[in-house]
C-alpha cells in the first residue's frame, strides 16, 4: 500500500519531462501557477478566519457534540461517522465553511485517523452544490430549476456515504 509514496515524485518528474518534450517553459509555467495558488489562498484566508472562529466556538460550547449526538442514530445507520454531522450541513452551502469544519475534524482526530480520513474524502469528493447551482442557472438566466437541486443533493448524500464506505474499504 505504499504506492502513494511514488505518486508525488513520479508525477512531478513525468509532468516536467513531458512538458519539456513539448517545448513548454516548465519553470515559468510552474511559477505562474504557484502565483495562482497564492491568490486562491489569499481569497480563502479571510473566510477561513471568520468561519474557523465560529466553528471553534461551536465546538467549545458543546453544541457541535449535541448535533452529532442528535443525529447519531440516523448517521450510524447510513454508515457515516456522527462526528462529521456538522460537515454534512455546511458542505453544500459554503466551500470555505466546509474547509474550516473539515480541517478542525482532521486536527482534533488526527489526519490519518478514520474520522480525519472520512472528512478529507468528503471534502475531496463533493462540491459546494448551492453555489454551483446559483452560478450556472444564474448566468444562463434559468429560474425554473426543476429537479436539479434534489438530484444534486442526492449526489451529495451518496458522496458522504461513499466517503465513509471507501475509507473503511481501503484503510480497513
Amino acid at each position: 500500500m505504499d504506492y502513494s509514496a511514488y505518486l508525488v515524485p513520479l508525477l512531478l518528474v513525468s509532468v516536467a519531462v513531458f512538458a519539456m518534450g513539448k517545448r513548454v517553459n516548465v519553470y515559468s509555467a510552474l511559477t505562474e501557477g504557484a502565483e495562482d495558488g497564492l491568490r486562491v489562498l489569499m481569497r480563502v484566508l479571510p473566510a477561513l478566519v471568520g468561519l474557523m472562529t465560529a466553528v471553534y466556538m461551536l465546538r467549545a460550547s458543546g453544541a457541535m457534540e449535541l448535533l452529532g449526538e442528535l443525529l447519531a442514530p440516523l448517521l450510524v445507520r447510513l454508515g457515516i461517522p456522527p462526528e462529521t454531522a456538522a460537515l454534512l450541513f455546511i458542505r453544500p452551502v459554503s466551500g470555505s465553511g466546509a474547509l474550516a469544519i473539515g480541517s478542525e475534524l482532521m486536527a482534533s482526530h488526527g489526519p490519518d485517523s478514520y474520522v480525519g480520513r472520512v472528512a478529507a474524502v468528503m471534502l475531496g469528493s463533493t462540491e459546494t452544490t448551492f453555489y454551483t447551482i446559483a452560478v450556472y442557472f444564474g448566468s444562463a438566466g434559468v429560474s425554473k430549476t426543476r429537479y436539479a437541486i434534489p438530484a444534486a443533493l442526492i449526489a451529495d448524500l451518496t458522496g458522504f456515504m461513499a466517503a465513509a464506505f471507501a475509507v473503511r474499504l481501503l484503510f480497513g
Partner: protein, 192 residues
C-alpha cells in the same frame, strides 16, 4: 447574505449554549484560537497549494487539458446528445469536464457557464433535462488530485497526504453515478 445568517447563527448558538452549559469561558478563548488556527492552517498549506497549482499550470501549458477534452467527447455526446450537436457547446462542455478533473476551477467555471448559456437559449428560463444533467455533473465534480484537502492533511502532519486518492475517486464516482441516475429518474417523473 445567506452566509451572514449562517455565521451569526453559529456564533449565537455557541454563546447561548455556552451560557446554558457554563462553557462560556471556553467559547471565548476558542474564538481567539479559531482565528489563529485559520492563519496557521493557511500558512502551513501555502507551499503545497502553490506547488500543485504550478504543476497543474504546466499540465495545461503542454496541452493535457485539450487531450483530456478529446477523450471526453464520446462520453459527453452520449450523456448530452442534443447539446453536443452544436460543436461550440461540445467544446465548452468537454473543456469544462477536463478542467474540473484537473482541479482548474478558474478554467472550469467560465467554460461551464458558456455551455449552460448556449443550452438555455430559447427555453424561457426553464431548465431542460440536459441542463439539469450538466449542473448535476458539475455539483458532483470528480477531481483527479484534490490538492486543497491534501494540503490540509500535509499541514496537519499526515504521514502520506495523498493516500486518500483512491478513496476520493471511488466516492466521487459513486456520487456522480447517483446524481445522474436521480436526474434520469426525475426527468421522467417531474411535473412542470
Amino acid at each position: 447574505m445567506a452566509m451572514a445568517w449562517v455565521w451569526t447563527g453559529m456564533v449565537a448558538l455557541s454563546v447561548v449554549y455556552g451560557l446554558l452549559n457554563d462553557t462560556i469561558g471556553a467559547v471565548g478563548s476558542a474564538a481567539m484560537e479559531g482565528a489563529a488556527a485559520a492563519v496557521e492552517l493557511c500558512l502551513n498549506m501555502a507551499g503545497i497549494m502553490c506547488l500543485w497549482s504550478g504543476v497543474m499550470s504546466i499540465m495545461k501549458a503542454c496541452g493535457l487539458m485539450d487531450g483530456l477534452s478529446r477523450l471526453f467527447r464520446p462520453i459527453l455526446s452520449r450523456l448530452l446528445p442534443r447539446a453536443c450537436r452544436d460543436p461550440e457547446t461540445l467544446a465548452a462542455l468537454s473543456g469544462n469536464v477536463s478542467a474540473n478533473l484537473l482541479g482548474l476551477g478558474n478554467a472550469a467555471t467560465p467554460l461551464g457557464i458558456r455551455a449552460a448559456q448556449r443550452m438555455a437559449a430559447g427555453t424561457n428560463g426553464r431548465a431542460s433535462d440536459e441542463l439539469c444533467t450538466l449542473v448535476v455533473l458539475n455539483t458532483a465534480s470528480i477531481q483527479l488530485l484534490p490538492t486543497t484537502v491534501a494540503g490540509v492533511r500535509a499541514a496537519l502532519g499526515s504521514g502520506s497526504a495523498f493516500d486518500i486518492l483512491p478513496a476520493v475517486w471511488l466516492a466521487s464516482l459513486l456520487s456522480v453515478a447517483a446524481g445522474l441516475t436521480a436526474a434520469k429518474i426525475f426527468s421522467k417523473l417531474w411535473r412542470g
